[in-house]
């Protein structure tokens, strides 16, 4: 089946070549980082996690969102999603691969990464995150590949795969819950020390993931002979709408607790991100406002069914959702937690050029994986005559 990834038109190969090019640049930058140290990034003694961990956190959400397609299909027998479960699972594979790569590029000693397995430490949440992420990667590769193979043979998926599919549903929830627990259990970081962290992570995941899937579906329809289907995209649109509203609602809950209680250790981070600490501006303020403007605009576009049912507007709204949640989670969440530092001091953070290029390289790797897998999936779908919706 994999051979289908190697048969394609000129456009497909141009895409693959571009992604490989970006990966190459990222890899060279990473070699430099490997030699010189993480000092080539914008991170510091005070802001000790940055862009890499932000992307990791964001993409765990995108990966987890595969469950929003798998669950309605396998549990509620919502037949329409049968057409796109493989697309959701393959997107999850790309996203989890990026997560693992972002952890690797963030390590000061990547060659020692295996220590996490050699010296298993159950009291560390990072140990559990390693387990759930690798497990989720395995589940999606295993399920996606087997289901697609069965579809190609024109037979229903083998019965023994069902338990794995059911397992993948709570497993998807677990990857983002455990990732939220990385942050939500640290005593001295008021910005993260909130029980609403895991629910908020899930809500933002369940809007960002399906939003990306909608965009991928639209691209697949335009570039291949496989149509993921109008109904499918519309249902995903409804999921994005609910999850987005929930995400903003949970954020407002957080704002209430923080600002009504007036506890400085919790408030200062929000001050820093949205107004600037003690009146000192920073790069993040306009971005944070922009992020929430994007999410608000997306809600306005998505709630009325007239606009949501218009696929063009839906696509625009999905782009807004992706930008908004990406700034919020991929940048604000991590940096905001570190500033002010435990001593109440401000150290600014902004990614450097090599850091951004390494980040781009990892994204390109993920999208290459998604492109190859989607090529296989769509070719199989067309081959078995399931091209038209």
């Amino acid at each position: 089946m994999l051979e289908k990834a190697f048969i394609g038109e000129r456009k497909y190969w141009i895409l693959v070549a571009c992604l490989l090019g970006i990966m190459g640049v990222g890899f060279i930058m990473w070699l430099w980082q490997f030699r010189v140290g993480l000092g080539i990034t914008g991170m510091s003694r005070d802001v000790s996690w940055g862009f890499y961990i932000g992307q990791f956190t964001y993409l765990v959400g995108v990966a987890a969102a595969g469950v929003m397609v798998v669950l309605p299909y396998y549990i509620h027998h919502y037949k329409a999603f049968g057409r796109i479960t493989v697309l959701a699972e393959f997107m999850a594979i790309g996203a989890v691969s990026m997560c693992l790569l972002f952890i690797l590029v963030d390590l000061g000693n990547p060659v020692r990464a295996i220590n996490v397995i050699l010296h298993p430490t159950p009291n560390s949440i990072l140990f559990w995150d390693m387990i759930v992420l690798n497990g989720y990667l395995f589940l999606n590769v295993f399920i996606g590949w087997n289901v697609l193979t069965a579809e190609r043979k024109g037979s229903p998926p083998p019965g023994w795969i069902k338990p794995f599919i059911y397992l993948s549903i709570p497993w998807a929830i677990s990857i983002h819950t455990v990732t939220a627990f990385l942050y939500a259990g640290l005593p001295g970081r008021g910005f993260w020390l909130t029980a609403v962290m895991a629910p908020r992570f899930l809500a933002s995941a369940f809007c960002a993931g399906p939003a990306l899937l909608i965009l991928l579906c639209v691209i697949v329809r335009k570039t291949t002979k496989f149509d993921p289907g109008k109904e499918q995209i519309q249902t995903l649109g409804s999921i994005v709408t609910y999850a987005l509203i929930l995400n903003v609602f949970l954020f407002v809950c957080e704002l209430f607790t923080v600002f009504y209680s007036q506890i400085p250790g919790h408030m200062h981070h929000f001050h820093y991100l949205f107004f600037g600490h003690e009146g000192h501006g920073n790069h993040l303020i306009p971005l944070m406002w922009f992020a929430f403007a994007c999410m608000t605009a997306a809600i306005i576009l998505l709630v009325p069914s007239v606009t949501r049912r218009n696929e063009g507007i839906l696509t625009v709204a999905c782009v807004l959702v992706l930008i908004g949640t990406w700034i919020d989670k991929g940048l604000g969440l991590v940096v905001g937690g570190f500033v002010p530092n435990p001593l109440g001091k401000i150290t600014e953070y902004w990614p450097t050029v090599p850091e951004a290029l390494i980040t781009l390289g990892v994204w390109a790797t993920g999208f290459l994986i998604i492109s190859l897998l989607y090529k296989v999936a769509t070719s199989v779908k067309v081959e078995v005559g399931a091209g038209e919706a």
Binding site: D46, G108, R112, T121, P187, G188, G265
Partner: protein, 294 residues
Amino acid sequence: MGVNRRKFLKIAGISTLGAAAVPAANALAMNPIEWLDKQLGGFTPSEILLHMGHKPTGLKSREALTAKRWAMVVNVRQLDEEIAEACREICHKIHNVPHIKNPKHEIKWIWAEHYEHALPGQYHEHIDENLKKLPFLVMCNHCFNAPCCRVCPTKATFKRKDGIVLMDMHRCIGCRFCMAACPFGARSFNWIVPWPRAEDGKFEGKEPPSPEFPTRSKGVVEKCNFCAERLAKGQIPACVEAAQELCKKKGREPALVFGDLEDPDSEVRQVLRSHYAIRRKPELGSKPNVYYIV
């Protein structure tokens, strides 16, 4: 009848629970929370877990200083800029802490902060002006319930039986989870190569000042080790020694005191009895082993 039945079930339930570990009579005498608390010796499960994985303290020479729980008391009013700087200098020298100009990449084991940053929750504007200017020496608190050890995915940072939180520089993967977990900003990461070497293995530029103490590689986290290497040789921490010498010269009470917190006759216990001392961020429950007299 209904009440009797309920009562019976309740007793039956509790005795079944109790039978697993202690005699039923014993379990019935106290409520389950009390019982669990007694089993855990009054510690939280996290504290129990942290102290279960103790590593051996290594071969002890006859002259080694030992304790059940090492602690330090900082008497801030006895400090001045000169003493604080002497402490920082000797510590960074004997531990080969590099001097890096870029504050973002700085490595610090012990350093001076102002009151408002050392004790941010306990600051108010009407504090004595002199106190506001005093150098608060801050370092790793060697917390009894250390959050850094709780989060480390490889046990590269761990708690020794005598309370000292140490780093295994050969195991650290550089994930920096401990830095996010530390509520005191006590940990530094080697963002760059601290002591660069040329191709032939010789140090480029400055040489590390202390040949007896290992230098670190890039990509690992480091922090104050309460001078574990000196304790093994029967010496008190270098900062304490330096501060006490200078204080003696200036005719002051010792600004830094070091000793066994579990020995009622130790110097730290005596000082804690005669002065009112506080710890940084006690509300977080990490139970620092460094005390401050203000």
